[in-house]
Symmetry: C2
Subunit: 354 residues, 2 copies
């Protein structure tokens, strides 16, 4: 074979059967099959100038001021669920963790761990959902990595996304900044993501389809920052472990207690019903498009009004207040006037919900 | 139970049995078991002020000038191998990808996907190796994430590390900058990592123990940048797919050919022997502590001398040159005076080598 014939053979070989192909071990071997997967699927979907540098790293100008960095691996099962798939979720989750740091999300990395045998058509749907979610959120996926593990050593696909962002001017949010007297707000109905995924897993059918709330919250956070400025003290998204785990973490970080009012908690009727059926508490169920905010009491009402003007904050509510409590507990006044402690779960309730 | 008793019970429950415990599904559930794992293992090992912010994201001042960002997931099997483990490898790999962008590594994230049943003692060894590798390389692990998947849906542990760094002043390296006449250098012996791992997998014993070369190359790169400045054009570490895949990628990116000289390639005798036994070509075997550099011919000799002064460049060599070639091939003059094309592998040779 001459060098010319050799090269012609190489060129012919560049292909990816996105209709009926499957992930093979050589898609992760660092050779030409991997280059084909990267070039013909990932680069085409995520197309942007930084990714197109085609090095093992992306180079960009540092933003001015403070930055934040966050990472999340996604192992949700099933890969496709009502309202999204692991790809859109992987973008929303990391965009939201940047936004919860008071930052404008800029750049994401994407690391794929593929199981041998995964249909390439499924991978393509997932990658396209990532690309669409990134476009909507205004972030670029600038660098990536692909590994393949043998059948039975993974579960379809796991995705890590890591993000960096630029801190918005004029605000400073952090988990230790809650003070007694502050108000606690939630941006909308709770438990939608966890219940949608669990319903699908259990094969439950409801009269109304339950959809995950998976969404990018950076636009809502920009609105909130503009309204409340430095009076906004804490932002956190109640994902795994739900509102209960997140508020317990924050109570511990700020060394305060939290008093919730059950009657103020926005919960969809269908979610409440499904939770009863599944033996779940909406407070411990994961959300993927909601945030908890803690702010000075004086800005709570205008902040709530600003949130309700945003499409992702229509159902926002003030759900409680920060109190002094040496025990750092989260307590709730129940709908029937009693009081209970809202613990985070020690055991496993919703495995692989994100 | 009073609130006080309740809280006392919570405090008692904070524990992690690092001697005989195993990863359970609740270690990934977002509740207290996960908080214990994070606080008692990850935070203690990686201890630094940014991680200790204990938010879902790390906040830091943006460096001046240009930055790079890179990501890598590690799925190596076995988790422990001669010369390192998946933890040290996960730090070295990402530090090196930052260094290959001409950057000083600053911050890493760490995302863990744990398989139910993994001994916590193994996880602790891995985490301690990560912490030690990070300290040696001068980087901080500033944010992390932990997920758990059911037994049989993972393989012990997968780790994603993503890093950001600050571009070193006075250099500009990128894969498309190689020009005919430039020289190609390698920082040391090739094939050590892949052969060490494969030997362990196959249960081969050699008279001399083969060790992975896994190491952080940022110090060597700083030395090289200082010596060669802008005459250093390309840096890349030949990991999966080895020197063959990396040079083929670079030839394609720069639209050039590469001419190698087999007699100049540094290969350990034991590695050459093991490769013959295992049917491997050292050129396609993964390295984890070596780099390829392409520089202007005029600085090749002084750059080589500078590299050889560094502990990780003692066996550095000039192994070839960049040539004009519309076919963008990598060719090699063999030890016996012939010439062959050095292709990258299409098929799978060394699955899960990193």
């Amino acid at each position: 074979m001459t060098a010319g014939e050799f090269k012609a053979g190489q060129r012919q070989a560049r292909r990816l059967d996105l209709r009926s192909g499957r992930v093979e071990m050589n898609h992760g071997a660092g050779g030409r099959a991997m280059a084909d997967l990267v070039d013909l699927l990932f680069r085409q979907a995520f197309d942007n100038p930084l990714l197109n540098q085609a090095n093992d790293q992306a180079r960009f100008s540092a933003p001015q001021g403070d930055m934040v960095m966050t990472t999340d691996s996604f192992v949700i099962s099933p890969l496709f669920f009502p309202g999204g798939n692991i790809g859109s979720l992987a973008v929303h989750g990391t965009v939201n963790d940047l936004a919860m740091g008071g930052a404008e999300p800029l750049y994401l990395s994407a690391g794929f761990i593929l199981e041998e045998g995964l249909p390439l058509a499924d991978l393509a749907r997932i990658v396209e959902a990532m690309a669409a979610a990134a476009r909507e959120a205004g972030v670029q996926i600038v660098t990536g990595d692909t590994k393949v593990v043998e059948r039975g050593k993974g579960d379809g696909v796991f995705i890590n996304t890591t993000g960096v962002g630029r801190v918005l001017p004029g605000i400073r949010v952090s988990g230790e900044l809650a003070r007694p007297g502050d108000r606690v707000l939630v941006s909308g109905t709770i438990g939608d993501h966890g219940v949608a995924v669990m319903s699908q897993r259990q094969g439950l059918a409801f009269a109304t389809e339950l959809l995950s709330d998976s969404a990018a919250l950076n636009g809502l956070v920009a609105t909130m920052a503009e309204c409340a400025g430095p009076s906004l003290r804490v932002l956190r998204d109640p994902t795994r472990g739900g509102v209960a785990a997140t508020l317990n973490e924050l109570a511990h970080q700020s060394a305060v207690g939290v008093q919730l009012h059950e009657s103020a908690l926005p919960v969809r009727t269908e979610v409440r019903g499904a939770c009863e059926l599944l033996g779940l508490d909406p407070l411990t169920v994961a959300n993927e498009g909601k945030l908890l905010a803690i702010c000075e009491a004086s800005v709570a009402e205008p902040l709530l009004a600003a949130m309700q003007q945003h499409p992702l904050g229509v159902n926002a509510a003030i759900i409680g207040e920060v109190i002094e409590d040496p025990l750092q507990l989260v307590r709730m006044t129940t709908a029937i006037g009693g009081e209970r402690v809202v613990d985070w779960l020690h055991g496993e309730q919703l495995p692989r919900i994100c």
